[in-house]
Symmetry: C2
Subunit: 442 residues, 2 copies
């Protein structure tokens, strides 16, 4: 007797991330009611499951859907503006004024759709977003069938979306209520950073977040300059201050974390704070490197984020895994601490853990949502294959991602997007590019 | 009156590398007798040139063909073997024994074809190769229409190809005579490294090279361990020793160069030695970083190499440019020394200069060979475009290279290889992979 699945995929290789962090050959996966019903060898699945639809991918590797644990999706419309500027100058003299000029509900909708097209093509099935008009991003992710953590911005400065941090806090609660119980969209608080949010606001946030048990997503210790300035003004590091306020908890998602003294690291590790590592953005903005090895060795869970396309240029977690590997390998003595599988886990199960959803996504395990991707391994540039996972980590690009499923629904099928109008999305992006370029030259 | 070209390409953007290192919009290039006849704006070319064949690429960027200044092409058949091992152990305990077991004329031919397929797809129009059976690699490059520097190995250890360094020296002279005057294939001496070649051999090489004015291509100062061991045995650094022997000259191509004291750097700079930077290989083998900024600031010309696929996994100069950028940007203080254009120049004109061919290739200038590539910029992941060169450096992968010409002949046309049987090449590579994998497990 075999059980009936909605569909079965037979794949050349499969990496489940959990419980074993080793790629297997000749594998299959059965999907039923949008969730993973069984994972095993081809023979095991054939003897226990059947389905009308069997997808044959003998040259592909199946991976858990990639998770982009930190981005600002609408900023794709400003992709790469101000390349080669250091963070503080870039943010205050270029990006904030550009945002003041251009950001609107239409900008956010068009930018989010462009980002979704890019992310789905890159094998991303879940993203954490932090931007103005979060209700629009949530709606677009929902329409597109993507999984998302919508991290609602809280910032003192008035902007096109709200007038104050008070408004941001209120809107978070509204969105939190609106999406309560949804399996695909979750809402988090996103205070921008210690240098743009007042202590009093953090104190209010601590009390609200404690009450509704919300996740908190924050840019933290992004540069050593930021930490030094904060210490001068407040007499302690931002981490110490947040700890005093009661915000350092397992519900905190700390993004960047390049500048950490031993006491900060201990505070983070002891309180199970999740860290989002954004290696490419940190390198390009010259923010200095995040101490990935020290964090991992201290037992901190580290996920991966691309940051916005404005600093990274890409929203590509495969590329981010490779950047993490290269930057971690730079120094001769740090060679063998993290394995190939560890780097692939950063962008899958570990990112799921950091955003508090590892019970539901991040690995190919029975009972989890069928969020998964297939990567074609047949190109000359990947052959021959001795270690399929190393080959993905070191040679794959988004172009080799051929299939993407979120909750069992295909969003990318044989290289085509199924839930987004890519031509319309591209046309609108180009129109924005032309308008914004003209403004930059003026 | 207009002159007649063999063909004209009209492209959305063009980056010539020389004389201006700025990308231009709405450009065209006329090709006649395999060389660049004219480069300019669309309007300029239209008013001075005509051709029966006009290739329209409005969404593409034209670049000088990329130059891979250091690889071991047949090692694609060992792609990624021994990932995660440090250099010395990896080389002596895994790679040398594997080579002793498997390398043959057939291995070299099949591996070189696989490498050529990968490199052409990645927009590479010229490569410097250093491997056993160099005469086979030269023939295959010639048949395929690729430009190459064949750097003939000189190593004391007997191998499947020759018995001694004496044989290597003799074969270099024979190949040098055989290919004399060829526009596509040049022959260089390639002593493997100071730790695998005796001083007496270097002395013979110095005299032969002086006589025939050959280029010399060598792995040099790849790790600090190598330099320390050499100092202990010889009382000076390898660079100092080569200088004493008379090998430090503008004809020397020094590959890797991660460990350099000030005196070494001064010697290199004063004598116009070219350096080949292999950032991804150095990072993955934990060799430590090459001091790219210090080299450039000292006036040393630095090209880019992928090294072999066995250490890099890829032969992809676009990826190598990005790795160079990320690794150079890691430290906060090194941010703005090199521009986007500088990184693209590393893999084009600067690599041409290091291998002594910048009079003929490396830039899109009138009179040079028509070695050029087109990159499709229309993907969601590249749009909108504010800075086309930064977009290429930070978002492009080999999959976006649609056209490759070497000396005006298309080797890749609308995504298809024209001079190589890709299916046959892949089938043979997979067969080798199966055989070698079985041996590794045994």
């Amino acid at each position: 007797m075999t059980s009936e699945a909605d569909f079965i995929i037979r794949a050349g290789w499969l990496f489940s991330a959990e419980p074993d962090a080793v790629a297997q050959e000749n594998t299959a996966i059965a999907v039923k009611d949008r969730r993973i019903a069984a994972v095993g060898t081809d023979a095991e699945i054939e003897s226990t499951w059947h389905a009308c639809e069997v997808i044959e991918l003998p040259n592909h590797l199946l991976l858990p859907g990639l998770i982009n644990a930190h981005t600002h999706s609408p900023m794709t419309l400003l992709r790469g503006v101000g390349n080669d500027m250091p963070l503080h100058e870039w943010l205050f003299e270029l990006i904030f004024p550009l945002e003041a000029k251009w950001v609107s509900s239409e900008f956010v909708a068009d930018g989010a759709r462009l980002a979704l097209a890019e992310m789905i093509r890159a094998g991303i099935t879940c993203f954490s977003d932090q931007y103005y008009f979060p209700e629009i991003i949530a709606d677009i992710a929902h329409e597109t069938g993507m999984r998302a953590q919508i991290a609602v911005p809280i910032i003192e400065q008035a902007n096109a979306w709200v007038q104050s941090s008070e408004d941001g806090l209120r809107r978070t609660t509204e969105l939190h209520d609106h999406w309560r119980g949804d399996d695909f969209i979750t809402i988090a608080h996103a205070p921008h950073a210690p240098y743009t949010v007042e202590v009093a606001t953090f104190e209010k946030l601590a009390s609200i977040s404690e009450e509704i048990q919300s996740q908190i997503h924050i840019h933290l210790h992004e540069t050593s300059q930021e930490v030094e300035d904060y210490q001068r003004a407040h007499g302690c590091t931002p981490i110490r201050k947040l700890h005093d306020i009661g915000l350092i908890s397992p519900r905190l998602q700390a993004v960047h974390m390049t500048a950490l003294d031993d006491a900060d690291l201990e505070t983070i590790a002891e309180n199970n704070v999740g860290v989002v590592h954004c290696p490419q953005s940190n390198a390009l903005l010259a923010s200095g490197p995040s101490p990935l090895m020290r964090l991992c060795e201290s037992g901190v869970t580290v996920g991966l984020g691309t940051d916005g396309a404005v600093s990274n240029n890409s929203l590509d977690v495969l590329q981010e895994m490779r950047a993490a590997k290269l930057l971690a390998s730079k120094a001769g003595d740090e060679h063998s601490t993290l394995s190939t599988a560890d780097f692939v886990r950063l962008g899958t199960i570990d990112s799921a853990c950091v955003i508090g959803r590892d019970d539901h996504i991040g690995s190919l395990e029975t009972g989890k949502w069928a969020d998964m991707i297939a990567i074609d391994m047949s190109a000359c540039a990947a052959q021959p294959i001795y270690d399929v996972l190393a080959s993905v980590l070191l040679t794959a690009s988004a172009s080799r991602v051929t299939h993407v499923w979120v909750g069992g629904t295909p969003l990318l099928q044989d290289g085509s997007l199924t839930t987004l109008d890519e031509q319309e999305t591209l046309a609108r992006a180009k129109t924005w590019g032309t308008k914004i370029s003209a403004g930059l030259r003026a």
